[in-house]
Symmetry: C2
Subunit: 510 residues, 2 copies
């Protein structure tokens, strides 16, 4: 998922001399740390009540928030309505996760007088505990779902962490309003002041990431900014985990049989996936690999011509898209399938219709430095491969790290060749689709939204319930009386969480 790189963000009102920014960030993190002492000890029901209250508050203020978001981002009301619904759904989903407690992975090894290693073993109980105050760097392209009250915030709160969001400069008014609404809802639900806070501006974001009180960070944005922030996190005197989602081109491979099976829907489906939200989605299919002689130019052109002009998120994104689009169109061997348009208005905003080009696999290899980077906007590249192309090798070589890879094979095509493609896609991406299109990411237990570099800095997912794992760390308690144990690992199990027990003596069965 891309966004404006730091250089293109405009200084916000809060940009003040460095010392003042650090002082302000000190205060914010100090509040987050104090709140963490309370939040981290709360029973799951209170965390869940907070998340439910946040969802409800967003629902009450939906009209106002959607209007604000539309004006700041250029996204359509329909899209923003769906996105706000998704944002509420994921807050409530994480409320249920917090209540159930599976994520705590409680393991109890009772005192074992017959331990395999020859000496009696003390009672040992392990639980995943919240890491501490978390810094969440918001994205530009999902002003609700990957921003102030988005998935990272929901996952961190469900884990029992407190959150400081670094607002994305693309929607500052919306960020402040959402923070006010949700922070109040959390307090009314019984969580302390300081559970959710906001900072603005690039310098404040860096100070937040460097602050000793910040214990983990998540980020959704460009490769450039993500790599820089990952370096900041790793260069602290005490490095902290940094979970960045940076960039993905989401290749789609169509076999000859797949082409025959879905010819009627292929062009329309592809164009819809490329052009939705003006292509500003982290899962937009940036490459469509098809057999040479595929003959879909007319279908694609016709579908692309139907797509109305859509505003790009902000002038910085428009600049980036214009540069990438020009570079691709100027590359030798690039054939234009549908040129589309990019118009700039007097305010610097960009307005685009889809641009589709085609290259041979050989051209893609020859011009990989220009062609392979993500183009954040409604542009995609059709890659024509010939019959004897080694597709698994090409995927490994050209597309080694992606959020998604998609295969359109024939309905009965499940032989070794196709198996090898799927196996390679599973090595190079976090989600493998058989038919369908990668945009539209379900928020469910089995979702994986994260893959090998540069899709994410680690393979952790940032969507779905497994995303909570990023904000937890294991702690084992040895030989502790009940009164000194967290409730989750006590024998009485007052929080009613799943507890996995190792029978005494079990470990010596061999």
């Amino acid at each position: 998922m891309n966004s404006a790189s730091p250089e293109t963000t405009t200084p916000s009102a809060s940009s003040t001399p460095e010392a003042e920014i650090e002082h302000a960030v000190d205060d914010v993190v100090e509040r987050a740390s104090r709140a963490f002492d309370a939040v981290s000890a709360r029973e799951p029901a209170v965390l869940a009540a907070g998340l439910d209250a946040a969802a409800e508050a967003l629902e009450i203020h939906a009209d106002e928030l959607i209007e604000l978001a539309a004006s700041e981002t250029g996204l359509t009301t329909a899209r923003l309505t769906g996105e706000l619904r998704r944002t509420r759904v994921q807050l409530r989903l994480f409320a249920r996760v917090a209540e159930r407690g599976d994520h705590l992975d409680v393991r109890i090894d009772p005192h074992d007088p017959d331990f395999a290693l020859g000496v009696p073993r003390d009672d040992l109980r392990r639980v995943l505990m919240p890491v501490g105050p978390v810094a969440v760097f918001a994205a530009s392209n999902f002003p609700f779902a990957f921003s102030v009250a988005g998935g990272d915030t929901a996952a961190a709160l469900a884990a029992g962490c407190t959150v400081v969001v670094k607002a994305h400069p693309g929607h500052p008014l919306l960020s402040r309003r959402v923070c006010d609404i949700v922070a109040l809802a959390l307090v009314e639900a019984g969580l302390p002041e300081g559970t959710l806070q906001l900072v603005e501006g690039q310098d404040a974001g860096i100070a937040l990431l460097r602050h000793p009180g910040t214990r983990a960070a998540s980020f959704t944005g460009s490769l450039h900014a993500g790599r820089f922030l990952a370096h900041v996190a790793a260069s602290r005197p005490d490095p902290i985990p940094f979970f960045g989602e940076l960039g993905s081109v989401n290749p789609v491979v169509v076999t000859r049989a797949g082409l025959q099976a879905s010819r009627d829907h292929l062009a329309a489906g592809f164009v819809a996936s490329v052009s939705g939200s003006a292509g500003q989605l982290c899962t937009k299919p940036g490459f469509l690999l098809v057999p040479s002689g595929w003959g879909l130019d007319n279908g694609l052109s016709a579908a692309a011509a139907e797509v109305p002009e859509h505003r790009l998120l902000n002038p910085g994104i428009a600049n980036g898209y214009a540069a990438r689009r020009d570079a691709i169109l100027d590359t030798d061997g690039v054939r234009v399938v549908h040129e589309g348009s990019l118009r700039r208005d007097e305010s610097g905003q960009g307005w685009a219709t889809p641009t589709l080009v085609a290259v041979s696999l050989e051209t893609l290899r020859a011009h990989r430095d220009t062609l392979l980077d993500e183009a954040f906007g409604p542009l995609s590249i059709v890659v024509e491969y010939d019959e004897n192309a080694d597709l698994p090798a090409a995927l490994l070589e050209l597309f080694p790290g992606n959020l998604t890879s998609t295969l359109h094979a024939g309905h009965d095509e499940t032989g070794p060749d196709v198996q090898a493609i799927v196996r390679t896609m599973a090595r190079t991406s976090g989600r493998v689709l058989l038919r369908g299109w990668p945009t539209g990411v379900a928020v469910t237990p089995a979702m994986q939204h994260g893959g090998p570099w540069p899709a994410t800095t680690t393979d952790a997912t940032s969507v779905g319930t497994a995303a909570i794992a990023r904000f937890l760390r294991g702690v084992a308690f040895q030989g502790a009386p009940d009164a000194l144990l967290p409730p989750s690992v006590r024998d009485a199990n007052p929080w009613h969480v799943p507890q996995s027990r190792c029978a005494a003596g079990e470990s010596i069965r061999w």
Copy 2:
């Protein structure tokens, strides 16, 4: 856990010009990658058979290996016998983990026509898959349990990864012999050639870590070397996960009531924990915090005087220990409780008896730069605190990241003060002990051996069954027919692994 820093390692026989080393490492990683294609698709029973065969082979060759290890490390036969037993136990434990399949965390969300987000949702199945070839940097102080066939190797093999170990130069002959024995056992159990390999020398280790085919790395050693290698991993064109266990001083806090409760055993238990394996354990208690006027000098001296001289692992470790010991003894305000000894023999090896010193909490604060670093060897510092000391604040300030923290409280002492200490210990360490001593790490499901920096580079555990998570990554399959799914996520469940299912429509209950 400490070890010789890279500067002090002697070049091994394989140290050749850079290009030759890179070429040799290329070959090794190429073999590991080819083997991975096969290993990663193997059913759990084959992985388990390999791990069991490795354990059995180590048992058959135990006498020879223990003799070799004793001569290369100076560790006692009794200690090495126990360590080899532990190493076999953990190989077999990971065999059982591989068989059971809980670690795959299989999640199945069937096709959902009533999905909360308003559009039908495709069938989605998520499983944790092996990351690829793993580089394991072996430790000096556990020539079996944290070396060629140690816990990291066992966890990576159980995950379905292949392993290239960077041998520790402190026991080269043992490393080669163990690799030969275990690699052969793995092949005889049905795993491919190249499943376990060895490289030697610092340059080869760095080339291994930089190699595009290496997909994750684990390390046990010094803060200095670990931070350097973490930087190498993070600076690759495609950064990879680096799991380092770097250093820990394992504070032990004794309350006044705790002192009364365990006065008879305290001195003997502490000295045994400090001096076992000549203090060369990552969980050695480096600090004992006691109320002023504790009056155990005589007990400690007497216990320490009983400890025979023990060889340090190698001349590099002896150099490091001598420098740390001198610096501590030379610090103003340090009171010698038992001076102990450090003798160097003609070969450069060091021989030591325990050194125990005492300081006030104020002296520790004033000389933190000298006193707080890990002293890898049989030295520990008693810290005298007065009645109004804020112990939680002192722990947060002075001991922010440790593998373990231990509290010796009174038998009925479970009030707010003690709760606050335990809560702080859980924030600053991976394992919290109530009474007992941190050395002697059980290999079980509930163990946590990893904590905030610098204990580990991430909070991941390197001991116990949860250690397998380091070598797995999530992959979701969307809309895929059975024939193209990994066996673990098929409805027929041929591997009989636990599968967690989300009922269709479940996610819209709110």
